[in-house]
Symmetry: C2
Subunit: 263 residues, 2 copies
């Protein structure tokens, strides 16, 4: 999702944009448990006069922190079942609607994720994704196969990565918490270190609407470890959310006062 | 997605709405090959002053047919790869944006699909889905598991089903053209006769924004047959699209002049 093209008028506009300090960021988070520490940390207030259509469960918090306007959105509770609206469809929709309403300069998709011991990951590691792709959209027809995988580079932030000492790794997204053998093969093909349920969907929408996006994922479970994913995820969710919260705070502090090209 | 609740003010409004003749329908289709015969049949014109944001590939055709305003949307070609933007995320986004912009009375999601010989299906059969669900969103945590499956009834149209002599069956949706053993188990658990890549996503968005939706699916491939799905799909796409086109025309003719409660 790095802006591309050189010499054109569009490229000049993009360059100018990249030189202005970032003024508004949109944090997209899938679960309330993940969202609330960040809401509290930045003292964001819930938007009671919603920018979203009547009836949708999507929730927006917003506020000013240093020189940044911060919007945080999460897709809210499923109105019938009462659980967090996780997964790619809800994440896509709330990202789309939030970009339309709020026109952010930069999107941060933050959340918990699974990772792999064969890739050297441990619980509570925080990764900044270099690339995102899907692992559960198999369409074995030429070119459609590439569309299904939907591999994208995230916005390049070499200074952020170095300064905050985050781990870098590729992220793979699918709508299941577990992993079938077919999905495992796709994750290996994606060379992914981190596995989540929203990242590539947020990236797709951000790319569609030409907003740079970065992905911060904290590890709640080791997919190729001993424990069942669901059990390990629930056990570690609260503790790992604290690590995520700390990383997002550091990232926001780093972003403050900088322009896109300085990240 | 049938309106529910009795005696409340909201229910009264819904009842009044159901008694007004349907004036606008939104046809959501995933592929250009599936869309164009219907565009031509109803002499719809492409919307050149798009209701969608700049840069998105989504395409809208519209026109008047008898007493109905018809909008047809498809998610367009992927701007990088040039293939149709199939699957749940694109379908969700274009359905959401089209409902917001066009406020239709009824959504028709039409398309080709796979089906099963164990369920008695043949190539070119046209099904009206009674229920929709997902088969590739496994979240093995209580209640989240139900959210993942996302089972919904489509809007009930008993008269339409009887009059047009369509087959009824449950529809299961996933982002892969093929089917892993885990997905097969989920499709069996969903008791599905028809398998597509968009229906449950369209249903989710329609439910979120409270628009009744129906699902017309024509069979291009027998999933439990001899031939590989991708090969059979490509072989039959054009011919089955003709059957789909005919069924959609019959459905639109049936809808014309009726209110929702008469369907």
């Amino acid at each position: 999702m790095a802006p591309h093209g050189e010499g054109s008028e569009e490229a000049m506009v993009v360059q100018d944009e990249n030189r202005k300090p970032i003024s508004s960021i949109l944090i997209v988070i899938a679960m309330q448990t993940e969202a609330m520490p960040i809401v509290n940390k930045f003292q964001l207030k819930e938007d009671l006069d919603s920018v979203f259509p009547k009836g949708v469960p999507w929730v927006r918090y917003h506020g000013v922190y240093k020189d940044l306007h911060i919007d945080l959105v999460w897709p809210g509770k499923d109105s019938t079942l009462g659980v967090d609206s996780v997964g790619t469809i809800s994440a896509s929709l709330v990202t789309y609607a939030a970009i339309q309403a709020l026109q952010p300069d930069l999107i941060i998709n933050a959340g918990t994720a699974g990772s792999f011991k064969v890739k050297g990951a441990s619980i509570s590691d925080v990764f900044l994704a270099s690339d995102v792709a899907f692992h559960d959209r198999r369409i074995p027809i030429p070119v459609f196969d590439l569309y299904g995988v939907g591999s994208r580079q995230s916005f390049s932030t070499p200074n952020l990565l170095k300064e905050l000492n985050l781990k870098a790794g590729k992220l793979s997204t699918g709508d299941s918490l577990d992993m079938s053998p077919q999905e495992e093969a796709s994750i290996v093909a994606n060379d992914a270190t981190v596995k989540d349920m929203e990242g590539a969907a947020v990236a797709y929408v951000a790319d569609l609407l030409k907003v740079p996006a970065i992905f911060i994922k904290a590890v709640t479970d080791i997919v190729d470890g001993e424990k069942p994913t669901a059990e390990e995820f629930l056990q570690n969710l609260a503790a790992v959310t604290a690590a995520l919260d700390q990383a997002v705070t550091q990232v926001v502090d780093f972003i403050n006062g900088k322009c896109l090209s300085e990240l």
